[in-house]
Symmetry: D2
Subunit: 330 residues, 4 copies
Amino acid sequence: MLEFCQFGAGRIGAIHADNIALHSGATLRYVVDVNEAAARAMADKYGAQVVSTETALADRAVGAAIIASSTDTHADLIEAAARAGKAIFCEKPIDLSLTRVESCLEVAKEAGVPLALAFNRRFDPSFATLQRRLAEGEVGEVEMVCITSRDPAPPPIDYIKVSGGLFRDMMIHDLDMARWLLGEEPVEVAATASCLVDPAIAEAGDVDTALVTLRTASGRLCQISNSRRAAYGYDQRIEVLGSKGMLRAENHRPTTVEAATGDGVSRDKPLYFFLERYAAAYKAELDAFIDAVSSSTEPSPGGYDGHAALRLADAALQSFKEKRTVTLVW
Amino acid sequence: MLEFCQFGAGRIGAIHADNIALHSGATLRYVVDVNEAAARAMADKYGAQVVSTETALADRAVGAAIIASSTDTHADLIEAAARAGKAIFCEKPIDLSLTRVESCLEVAKEAGVPLALAFNRRFDPSFATLQRRLAEGEVGEVEMVCITSRDPAPPPIDYIKVSGGLFRDMMIHDLDMARWLLGEEPVEVAATASCLVDPAIAEAGDVDTALVTLRTASGRLCQISNSRRAAYGYDQRIEVLGSKGMLRAENHRPTTVEAATGDGVSRDKPLYFFLERYAAAYKAELDAFIDAVSSSTEPSPGGYDGHAALRLADAALQSFKEKRTVTLVW
Amino acid sequence: MLEFCQFGAGRIGAIHADNIALHSGATLRYVVDVNEAAARAMADKYGAQVVSTETALADRAVGAAIIASSTDTHADLIEAAARAGKAIFCEKPIDLSLTRVESCLEVAKEAGVPLALAFNRRFDPSFATLQRRLAEGEVGEVEMVCITSRDPAPPPIDYIKVSGGLFRDMMIHDLDMARWLLGEEPVEVAATASCLVDPAIAEAGDVDTALVTLRTASGRLCQISNSRRAAYGYDQRIEVLGSKGMLRAENHRPTTVEAATGDGVSRDKPLYFFLERYAAAYKAELDAFIDAVSSSTEPSPGGYDGHAALRLADAALQSFKEKRTVTLVW
Amino acid sequence: MLEFCQFGAGRIGAIHADNIALHSGATLRYVVDVNEAAARAMADKYGAQVVSTETALADRAVGAAIIASSTDTHADLIEAAARAGKAIFCEKPIDLSLTRVESCLEVAKEAGVPLALAFNRRFDPSFATLQRRLAEGEVGEVEMVCITSRDPAPPPIDYIKVSGGLFRDMMIHDLDMARWLLGEEPVEVAATASCLVDPAIAEAGDVDTALVTLRTASGRLCQISNSRRAAYGYDQRIEVLGSKGMLRAENHRPTTVEAATGDGVSRDKPLYFFLERYAAAYKAELDAFIDAVSSSTEPSPGGYDGHAALRLADAALQSFKEKRTVTLVW
């Protein structure tokens, strides 16, 4: 039985707590959150205790820590949990600074603890199946990866301001998908972007609409399309062109109901946002982490993947600003 | 907190036990099964106890009984649970004999206990949405209901022999859907059927492929298509033609992955069978039952719906045998 | 070069005239129509002449006759054309009376002329492909054929009155498809029907909504669903369940445009009616006729198929009226 | 009646000749081709004459010229036809050199003749409908245009060598679509590309896989994905994200047949290549040209559009070579 302490009792934290409860080999022991009421509610639901960070990490019965608190606390918590010898499951990002991420990876490595990064989309049933079939060679060699990723609506401006910007906050998920599907590291990054959704985003120094292209050393190409707004809901699609065909994964819909009337034939919009679309992914990623820790294997994706995706995001931002292709060496 | 005793610790029983655990207002207290090992495993998982039927029903703390044991035990358990004052959630069928069903309904009525019948498909997100939108008048008046219902593979012959036959065992779900969607009772039933899948089914006195048409008093029509075998998996589709358009619900698939190759463009088969397809429906139907009992409202569908569907199944069998339209008075 | 005389310069006639013009091995020589203006317009467009029936049939240079005039003239024209030694391409039906149809077939047989019946749907690219793949065994043995056939709107009441009724006028196309796809003659016919679309249709002694089930000697089943009204356009779909899978053909749409908005995801309605949906079929059926005549092979479908479909339509009507399954011997 | 002389009796020429024949207001008078047999066959089919360029252009009865000969003859023929006062319908490209294109436009302008450029995709029913609905504001302001354009297989290396390269030969169609759909001229162009399909293409100095991004002055973005090979056929898709939703047009398929078996659910591949996919577009573009000439309105797209698309193609090539964003002033 793997015992967890969880940092953060918000929306994502609640999902992880549910999934711990559904797993026969895991249990939630501690909840830590600055919002005491939220921490209390979560602890009560699962028979856990509300404690301080120190208490949670000091308990040797606790084998793993989930870090689902606000982004600015991730790096400190990773280092503290690593030094306390806990296996770590951290929401992205580790940090918005590459050097800070590197120090976290170093601390975890020295402590010898596994560090999983919650790139949840890798566990989406459709994307995971696409990646597996791609890896099995069903469509031959990868030639082009096309990722469409659009949010239903932009986050609050206050969030935008501390988010690190679209490339580091939003596109980082897609950059991770790109690395995973390309099967090679991108060595060239080119970006273009605009602020079309809300002028306040531009005032905050950010963009809301962006296109990035990647190229690997062997010439594989990738294009990523991001928008902070899609009137029809969360648009999460992937297609991969290979030498023998194409694999693609379309959006998920709440029902299969179709209405045919004098106005046309209509179906449901995609599931609204990440909580709905990636419900199965959240469960699968935590199950995979528990399995990895329980079997002493390395969880994947890990801290390195977070670091690599952040490098790509930084390169995209630089490319956008300098209007030129940025080259990366791995 | 509604406390349950559950009869039957098999596949369906396990699903109900999970869903009780996920519900914040319900708990599983007792498990009863002739298979002691199965009962023990379920009870251990949820902190319940393995007891006899008598003990379970005698405990006044128990508010509700789930009957998910073998079909031939349903009627006795309904009567016993009703006399013990428990709210009842029973897997279909109540019984294969209409008169026995009637006596069960009578006992439940006298005892004043709610009796819910587990026509799970009414709770499938796609079918439930279709029915709601139909009821809201989105496509006008109902004119024709078309139900396609095919199993991936026939059950064992031993099951076929005690099943009551295709009309009572398999099509009864579709006959319930027909009643629900037509919004009127069918007054004419015509059936045709064949044994095309496995000659052993004919030897057991049953059919494996069947078509039934229904007609209501106002002239609404319905066609039901059943087969015990669909090589591509569980085929569960509904379409309803109305005066202003059509609503239809297609099959559910495991992923949205599509492969385009030199051979064509292919997608996943439908989800394999009822456990996969109706996972969400099983949760929703139990939630609805718990809500109904907790709020002292009548659960739906109830015992009457089981009786009505069985009448239609018997009429279909008669029509098939006598090669004529059978008329029903309600 | 096969020279044609054409009887009937209406909508369908115009399509046939176009398709003769597009064929490198055929030419239109004569047009016959009681509506002289229509005949004149068609003749002028293609360099043909307007003549009387007698003149057209007397010309030995004319090898083939297209009969696309009003239904009540078909039988007489078939007999006249057959006696004049012309190959005959006749719009359905030959006649509404089985005995009259039989006499036409007899005359054509005695004259030794080919008689093709324009069951255009057999030449629809989707349906023809489905039938070919079915015949090639792609989904194993045929077990169940499901035909959905709904018109966008009912014809004028004056047409209804002389049409022979829904079974003989509209469903006859579907009964032909059923025979073609089942690969065996239906020996049992059961029908139910209603008047739901327009009370004037009931007053005219007809129905507008109907379901028919067929059963062949080996037990293959078929269901046909007809309505005189589908608010979303011409609904023409077929699915065939076989022992190894299912083939289905969906509706055709004008474009592939899809709109995703806050209201849902919508696509085009099906093509409006037979002129749009079966444009390719009309060309293919005439090409096939010209090829058959040019190569002295028997055109298919032929007069026999028209006779067989009418027998099924008559049986369906009888079944509906007598509320019993009607048996046919072939 | 508009009389045509046509230069080029190859595949595309044959399509135009058919479409002239189908148009009630046009006729084909002369065919000019260095391949005399091809010219003769086409002329015979439509009652036209085989003549020299000089003879064809000298006939004052001829109102319009179709230029469907080899690319290197286009500019000379445009100038000759313009000076002879003929309305001109020219296959793309006008020329591979921007300055030569400019001189052609100048000559046509001086001669006062309309010059239509055959960007056939603008007339595809799906793309034309998408553009119309976009222009009507159905999804609000345009934010992002995504164009997928992949050929089933690369052309012969000999063609590649004289083609002007992927950007000028293949992507030019997509650059025209981009301009048409963006509603603004792109002012920034960034490209990346690889040779992944056939090393011989790299040896010929070209690429076979490319991604281009465009940005307009107001910040609208566009991405274009090209490959010379798609194992599943001609992949021609467009999607446009707007402030109120998304419009997309998917591939066209030969039939709607779907097969469900134990292996999955499969549909047809897209139509094989441009002759199949754009058959309706070829007819519509010529009809539009005939209508424009007949009504003395300016045909669209015209020579200017060819010039603009070539500028974008040149900029893309430059961007690819210099690994930087290229800026354009209009």
